[in-house]
């Protein structure tokens, strides 16, 4: 269970407050969606939770199954079971996708005191998971995300998620830049990982992703906090009416 309580975050180098009392709970096994206008702090929330530098937490807390996330290094958060699917996955020339995946999987296992996967066991696993996402052997051999299309990059994010088997997955605008077929493929990949225990926080601007990844709860975020929480219908309402009415209610 992810629990965020009254989280306040500002930029490290500027006097600019981004999150202003964000509170949010995602129980185990649930899928929550976050929608909200540009600049409301959705990506900042995902970065702060996953441990990116450049932000300063000025108040509040964030825990995963009771463990304080904010005190941990980014790699420890990952090993604890937090995963962020990036809106813009980074290209890393010179680092092979397979080497990267194997290093990540085994680093996490090591951090949790588990045995590392052998080369053979890893290869078997990655081939099976890649196949389900229609990621071919050639893509696995290439450097991380280099020369990947927008759709391939997002599928590669889901492959990493499938390999790392996190408890809590944050998907930051995973639908951005995807055509309908690519979005369906990615959504299928996500749905395949829903097992009743794993939780998801899906950040999106568009209702259509939620047609494929059905959320249990929808939150609306604006100006650094959640302003409204509801069922899947809330996403439809935003799709039809925009955010103006909701924002007006709050003010």
């Amino acid at each position: 269970m992810l629990e965020i309580k009254d989280l306040h975050v500002k930029l490290e180098d500027e006097d600019k407050q981004i999150l202003k009392g964000l509170s949010l709970t995602v129980p185990s096994g649930e899928v929550h969606a976050i929608m909200g206008p540009n600049g409301s702090g959705k990506s900042t929330m995902s970065y702060v939770l996953s441990g990116k530098g450049g932000y300063e937490v000025t108040g509040g807390s964030a825990t995963l199954d009771g463990v304080d996330l904010l005190e941990m290094e980014a790699e420890e958060r990952a090993a604890t079971g937090l995963f962020l699917a990036f809106q813009y996955p980074v290209e890393i020339p010179g680092v092979g996708n397979m080497t990267f995946l194997r290093t990540a999987v085994n680093s996490q296992r090591k951090a949790r005191g588990e045995d590392e996967l052998s080369a053979a066991a890893f290869l078997k696993l990655v081939r099976a998971r890649a196949k389900a996402l229609k990621i071919d052997a050639e893509m696995l051999k290439r450097p991380v995300n280099v020369g990947f299309s927008g759709g391939e990059k997002k599928r590669n994010e889901i492959l990493q998620m499938a390999m790392l088997e996190p408890k809590m997955c944050i998907l930051d605008e995973t639908d951005s830049g995807l055509d309908v077929d690519a979005m369906k493929l990615v959504a299928e990949g996500v749905n395949a990982l829903r097992d009743g225990k794993r939780s998801f926080l899906v950040i999106t601007h568009y209702q259509r992703l939620l047609d494929h990844i059905k959320p249990d709860v929808v939150h609306i975020m604006a100006a650094g906090r959640i302003i409204k929480t509801g069922g899947p219908d809330l996403a439809l309402e935003v799709e039809h009416n925009g955010y103006a009415d909701l924002l007006a209610e709050v003010v």
């Binding site: 890393i92 020339p93 951090a111």
Partner: protein
Amino acid sequence: MSRAQALKAKQTAAVARIDVANLPTGGAWLNGARKAAVSRLQQMGLPARRDEYWGFTRPDLLVAPAAQAAPVLPVEAVPPFDAIERLKIVFVDGVLDLEASDDLSAENLEISSLAEAGRRDIHWAQDLYGALEAAAHDPVARPLGALNTALATEGVLIRVTGKVSRPVSLCYLRREAESDAVLHHLIRLEAGAEMTLLENGPAAARLNKVTEVDLAAGASFHHVRTQGRDHGRQAVALLFARIAEKARFKSFTLTVNGALTRNEAVIDITGDDAVVTIAGAAAGDGSDGVFHQDDTIFLTHDGVNCQSRQVFKKVLRNGATGVFQGKILVRPGAQKTDGYQLAQALMLDDDSQFLAKPELEIHADDVACSHGATVGAIDEEALFYLVSRGVPRRIAKDMLVLAFLADALDEIEDQPIRDDLKSRLQGWVERHAR
């Protein structure tokens, strides 16, 4: 000081240096070549700080009367190229050790030692010794090359007449803390011949090495060398190459450690349709002692439809210095030239420096030449991406450092050799991680 005064000072220094060194005698035909080199050197003088290509690298250690002592390290348990099937030629403190070397007779290979060469009529060597060096001083003087031709008594002469099955591997061992070695190798590949030359080992506290490589039409020469471990090394390695039509020349150098390493290459493409690649990866950590590494390249296109690539990558930390001075000269008529030059440094802190001087001089109108020189730090976005997947920060950083250097290492065609150097470099990076 006026120009004339500066030249006079350099010439005086050259005369003094030659006097201290005692010119070798008794080399028959070599004596003539040595005398000619002495007079070249007396004309141009020793390098000085004000020379255009010595502004970034102080020549003092290389021209001083004696070597600066450098600690001798025990021989590595597994030296580079250990697993590669090769013909080994061993030098100890710059002196050929035939007993420690393999049998030098092999198919399509004629190998002899410079120390013996003067007493024999080896016509190809007589034509080549000092010839490419002598031709390389215009427009930029290479006095340390002339100094070498004048003083060298050791080296190997390799003539290749066909395809050679095993690489020839020059292994340089060191025993003396103050050894001052001068090596001069000659390599001649006849038409269509193919060989791989490997070099590794510390050689001497101070090393002045010249390699003259003459490729006949359609010959193919691969060269991979490592300069590693010994922190106090003072070395200048000059590579003079002449490339005839349809010949292929590939040279790669891995440098780690070393107080002063100057790798100079003067490459003349004289024929049409030739392909040249010269690449290097360097990793330096100033906390091990002074690290200064310099790649100075002068590549001339004088044939039609030739390709050249220069790819140099340096990782620097703790006050390390990297230098790149690379020039592509396209002579009139060298049409359809495809020239590429890349020099990049990755700085792991604010204390290190990278000094770059890329140059293109083009006298033909139908050519494509590109160059890029960049300096950067570790990409924080990439680093966070790796760390966010659970890769510990230190390992993620190492991955990015190795990834940065991979572009240069990938210029090595032979996979076992490339993998050997990659794993060595990985070891260095991991030992120097913070």
